[in-house]
Amino acid sequence: MHIIAFLIRRALQAVIVMFVISLIGFSIQGNLGDPLRELVGQSVSEAERQALRDEIGLNDPFFVQYARFLGAALQGDLGTSYFFKRPALDVIMDKFPATFELVLGATIIFLSLSIPGGIYCAINREKWIAKTIMTGSIIGISVPVFLTAIFLVWIFGVELQWLPAFGRGETYEMPWGWETGFLTRDGLAHLLLPSIALSSIMLPLFIRLIRAEMMEAMGTDYVRFAKAKGLSTARVRYVHAFRNTLLPVVTVGGLMIGTLIAYTILTETVFQWPGMGFLFLEAVNRVDTPLIIAYIIVVGLIFVVVNTIVDFVYTLINPMVKLPGAKS
């Protein structure tokens, strides 16, 4: 497929997704809670309320109101949080590093275990270690993330008291304002259990996926031909077979982003991790509409951006998709 056509289609899809999300966000704004009450309280007469509605544009036609919402949103104005009395986007972005580092920690864990694990299970299908890993993986798939998280808190946090089970611990503020837990001992200790919990559902899925793809690749003619060329076992496995398992792994990885974000909400709830997901649930309980909208829009944006990056990586590692101008 031509890369430009591909990128255009991708961009179009991203715009459509964001458009739908903004529509959802906008319709929430109009229907959830009463923006007037949040502004002026309830001790205002009906006439005054109507005047105010006119003034802030609540009586304008739908399209005008939506255009105003979209215009503001494009400039980063998603309203002011009722509870925090600060711009909703700022409140969300303050929590972004916590969630990002949780996802990063989990990704490091599940990738560094599932790739060697999957390859091992594909190559040593009949060994008992491989069979144990495969049995473990179906159990892993059957234990919901929040239960893994609860068990980790209970065993390592409450009973054994080896590791902290709440919050981020000590963080270090980077010059550009990013609070990181990766640079302090305490921060890393706090990161460990939540990251393991979040990775717990991805790990068995990826082990099974990599094993299946690797087994398929090992049975192909090109791997047989590579062997017939007299190449070393390592080169046959890791250059010829494993390179071909990367494409489906990247594709499935891309499909998992939404799931991963959803699981951050669960993980953050159990560990009271001060991230975006925890904030979102608080906002739902407080009916803090601007914050709910801001979260949905930010998550939608993250989703679209990451998906586009994944697609781009896919085109880079898949020789079937060629950059324009490259000779063929």
Binding site: Y222, F225, G230, R235, L247
Partner: protein
């Protein structure tokens, strides 16, 4: 002593927990330097199994259960993996059936060629690159230099098979095993590839094991011929002799089924029935259910290979009508 001597080669696959079935049931074969031999049979006869057994590449859970494969007097089956890799792809190389799936789709032609040279020789990348381009030119690939950076999907099937042939020739091997090298190609390309293989073998004094189900190709290229049926050799000898006067009813049937041997206006001949799978072989001669000459003796015992034919009732030279 011949260059390659295969004696009583048997390949077995497990069936159930204890039982095994044999896919190759005692094959003998010799090959001299520069000699071209054809191996013919229907699919499932064990032809490809033989090719992979020579390179010691029988896929799990199959295994060579018996026999020897001596290459210059050394048994390939006893060698360590390290030692056999100095022969596999270096002194004996192989051309696969379908060029569309033989080359790795995510590696460039250059990578797949250079790695082969580097696996067998201490050679600089620059020198390896030049040798690869030379071989691509040898197999008549146009603009060879630029093909090194191409990916397999950018080449047509015919070109890909030429690349595979070039890879097989890279290390100047002594034997090439070609497993149905033209089956997957367009008819127009088939003749070109066969001519190329024949020319390369003659020019370089290369021995060839050509596996095919096409007797026409065999007649054109090879000097000797082995006909396989259900994991056994049923007839072997000089290609010219067998084509002129097959002794085994199966060989005769294959020849009669060739379109060029059909009478104009009459229906094409077809051997009745089909080859049994190795898991359900009949008693005695495995060909007897399809054979018009079979009698109780054929049903009771497997005829031994004598004078190049394994049949109790071989055809004599002008008995073709009665198969």
């Amino acid at each position: 002593m011949a260059m390659l001597e295969i004696h009583d080669l048997r390949v077995a696959f497990p069936r159930g927990k204890k039982d095994e079935v044999e896919a190759l049931r005692g094959i003998d074969l010799t090959l001299e330097k520069g000699e071209r031999i054809g191996i013919v049979g229907e699919s499932g006869a064990g032809k490809s199994m033989l090719a992979f057994a020579i390179l010691n590449l029988i896929a799990e859970p199959g295994r060579v259960s018996q026999g020897t494969i001596k290459f210059h007097g050394e048994n390939l089956l006893d060698m360590s993996e390290r030692k056999i890799r100095t022969i596999r792809g270096n002194r004996i190389s192989m051309i696969f059936q379908d060029p569309m799936v033989t080359l790795n789709p995510v590696l460039t032609i250059g990578t797949q060629m250079i790695e082969t040279l580097k696996a067998h020789q201490r050679i600089s990348t620059r020198e390896a690159h030049q040798r690869c381009v030379d071989k691509l030119k040898l197999v008549a690939i146009p603009s060879a230099e630029s093909r090194m950076d191409a990916y397999p999907h950018e080449l047509s099937g015919g070109l890909r098979q030429r690349v595979v042939i070039a890879i097989a020739l890279l290390t100047d091997p002594e034997i090439i095993i070609a497993d149905e090298p033209t089956t997957a190609l367009d008819v127009t390309i088939q003749a070109e590839i066969i001519a190329l293989i024949l020319k390369l073998c003659r020019d370089n004094d290369l021995a060839l094991i050509l596996i095919t189900h096409d007797l026409g190709v065999v007649a054109e290229v090879t000097e000797r011929l082995m006909i396989m049926y259900a994991g056994k050799c049923v007839e072997t000898g000089r290609t010219r002799d067998i084509i002129a006067a097959p002794k085994h009813p199966y060989a005769a049937g294959l020849l009669k089924a060739l379109p060029q041997n059909a009478q104009r206006g009459s229906k094409l001949y077809q051997i009745p029935g089909s080859m049994p799978p190795i898991t359900a072989l009949p008693s005695g001669c495995p060909y007897h259910p399809r054979c018009a000459r079979a009698d109780d003796g054929c049903r009771a015992a497997m005829p031994p290979l004598e004078n190049g034919v394994a049949c109790f009732h071989p055809l004599n030279e002008n008995a073709e009508a009665s198969i």
